[in-house]
């Protein structure tokens, strides 16, 4: 099974991220890590390779620094990694990312499976997988929460819906996005980490992929902080029943019950 896994580098703590006066998100001092849900996508890819043979290639779209997440991918079983680095992708626009990955899939493929996280930790639009599936013309299962079984040409997955969940079989090639419950990502060993450190990664620009600079159709007009809550007004004194009575009065005063 030839698998492409899309990974993203994200800030570890979103509170360290700042928004500049011209409304650009700046990662500043934030420590950058592999998107947690990307680890689950990677684990799915590597475990399917182990079951069915083939290879796993990791791709990331982002700044040159995102090479570190490709190293991490190789340390847990990816065979190769490729970076798409271009100022054109600085804004982390999900559509632009999907366009770039579609081109990468064309250039390095064909792939039986393209897998990614259902939504990134920082961006969280949930758009990349469905946009990508449409661009490459493949069926998709987004928000997969469990792998039931796999063959060389199909996957049986549990997908979470607005209400309830369903088990589906998807014929490969396909695009799948996963959540953080689908598996437990493995850890790298010291030995595989050292080996991954030596790995070299191809870097592609928008021009290498034949992509026009993307014009962002959505304009950010304003960014404001969510009004911070003050420290809680403590309700205390007496037995549990007395505290419960005080809570009820407070909630009644607020018109909540």
């Amino acid at each position: 099974m030839e698998i492409l896994v899309l990974l993203k580098q994200v800030p570890d703590e979103l509170s360290d991220v700042t928004v500049s006066s011209d409304l650009k998100v700046e990662k500043g001092s934030a420590k950058l890590i592999l998107d947690p849900v990307g680890k689950n996508a990677l684990e799915l890819a590597v475990s399917l390779k182990e079951a069915h043979g083939g290879s796993v290639q990791a791709v990331c779209v982002g700044p040159a620094s995102s090479k570190t997440i490709l190293k991490e991918a190789v340390s847990v079983g990816a065979d190769k990694g490729v970076q798409v680095v271009d100022e054109a992708f600085d804004g982390s626009d999900p559509i632009a990312t999907a366009q770039a990955v579609a081109k990468v899939a064309q250039k390095l493929g064909p792939f039986d499976l393209i897998v990614t996280g259902v939504r990134s930790y920082d961006g969280g639009s949930g758009l990349v997988a469905p946009t990508l599936a449409r661009l490459v013309g493949l069926p998709q299962v987004t928000a997969a929460n469990q792998l039931v079984s796999s063959t060389e040409d199909s996957l049986e997955l549990v997908q979470l819906l607005e209400k309830g969940q369903r088990t589906v079989e998807v014929t490969l090639p396909a695009v799948v996005s996963v959540d953080e419950y689908i598996n437990k990502p493995r850890y790298a060993s010291v030995k595989t980490k050292l080996a991954a450190n030596k790995a070299k990664f191809e870097a592609l620009s928008a021009a290498d992929l034949g992509l026009e600079p993307v014009s962002n159709q959505v304009v950010v007009k304003d960014v404001s902080a969510v009004p911070a809550r003050q420290s809680a007004e403590m309700i205390s004194g007496g037995s549990a029943d007395e505290i419960a009575q005080k809570i009820v009065s407070v909630l009644q005063n607020d018109g909540l019950i």
């Binding site: 559509i95 404001s224 969510v226 505290i243 009575q245």
Partner: protein, 308 residues
């Protein structure tokens, strides 16, 4: 006049609460067209209804949506920010080159331009975004409430799939019919964390939610509780789970990690019950009780029941 196309699923014979409220919002913005997936029987409060029958297959549903957009030329395409809604929004934006904004909390039309607000960066910021029409928007469940009272009409045009799907539904597991309102739609959420100590203890939270009323209150959890398998993943509130905006959020034995706060920062009032005085959640709450949840929660259940 502005024309708004709403994408919705028919769930077990009716529109979901989210879809119904989206249709109501669409009606406030202009003339409505509904693109319905799933079961097509019944009548719906929209100007016109297109339908695609059968189990959901993203490719077939996206082709159907594209054909409706071509026939109707809507100014705005609205879908709930759910698995299906986000799938179709992404596919449509890609095929038609339309601007797309997902997970929107509030949506206005200003001088023919779409202005939408949503939380970004893990619920820490509110962004206001603009896009020209036509555009595709997914709206977070719970962002709007209520339902349309417009005249209901039946599906007037049934679309057929041009090809066989590549995604086959083998089984569907409906949510427990006795369960309460969906988390995204709940006015009150009682949520439990690591200090619940086990899945069986969540019954205490369910009892409290039922005391408020199962039509208004639901039970959620933090990541550690869902990770431990105490509750299903669908109950997790936070950056890797659901985003909720209830009127009242009662956090029981949850420390208040930023990943959890990201999913509930939009709650109007927050009550934290925790026996750890240093729990950081106390700094992000309206009311706090430093106490044993195993004593306070049952007492609160009794006290709420007594008000009914």
């Amino acid at each position: 006049m502005t024309k708004v196309l709403v994408v919705a699923e028919n769930f077990q014979g009716a529109l979901s609460t989210t879809a119904a409220s989206l249709l109501k919002r669409a009606e406030e913005l202009g003339q409505t067209v509904l693109y319905l997936l799933g079961e097509l029987d019944g009548q719906y409060p929209a100007g016109q209804v297109y339908g695609l029958a059968g189990d959901y297959d993203s490719q077939l549903a996206a082709e159907g949506l594209e054909s409706v957009v071509e026939q109707e030329n809507p100014d705005l395409i609205l879908a709930p920010a759910t698995t299906v809604g986000n799938d179709l929004a992404g596919a449509l934006a890609a095929s038609k080159g339309l601007p797309v904004i997902t997970e929107v909390d509030q949506l206005e039309l200003q001088d023919g331009e779409i202005v939408a607000t949503k939380t970004i960066l893990g619920g820490s910021r509110i962004a206001t975004m603009g896009a020209a029409t036509p555009a595709v928007i997914t709206v977070r469940p719970g962002a709007y409430r209520g339902s349309s009272e417009a005249d209901a009409v039946a599906v007037s045009q049934t679309l057929s799939s041009g090809s066989a799907g590549k995604v086959t539904q083998k089984s569907f597991e409906a949510p427990d019919a006795s369960a309460s309102v969906a988390l995204e739609e709940a006015q009150i959420i009682v949520s439990g964390g690591r200090a619940m100590q086990g899945g069986e203890n969540f019954q205490l939270l369910t009892d409290l939610a039922h005391a408020f009323g199962s039509d208004v209150a639901a039970v959620g959890s933090s990541r550690p509780a869902a990770d431990a398998g105490w509750v299903p993943a669908q109950m997790e509130i936070g950056i890797s789970g659901k985003t909720v905006t209830p009127d009242l959020y009662i956090a029981c034995g949850i420390s208040g990690a930023s990943q959890h706060l990201a999913g509930m920062s939009g709650a109007k009032k927050v009550l934290v019950i925790n026996n750890d005085p240093d729990a950081s959640f106390f700094s992000h709450a309206d009311y706090g009780v430093e106490g044993d949840l195993f004593e306070v929660v049952p007492a609160l259940t009794k006290a709420i029941q007594a008000t009914k």
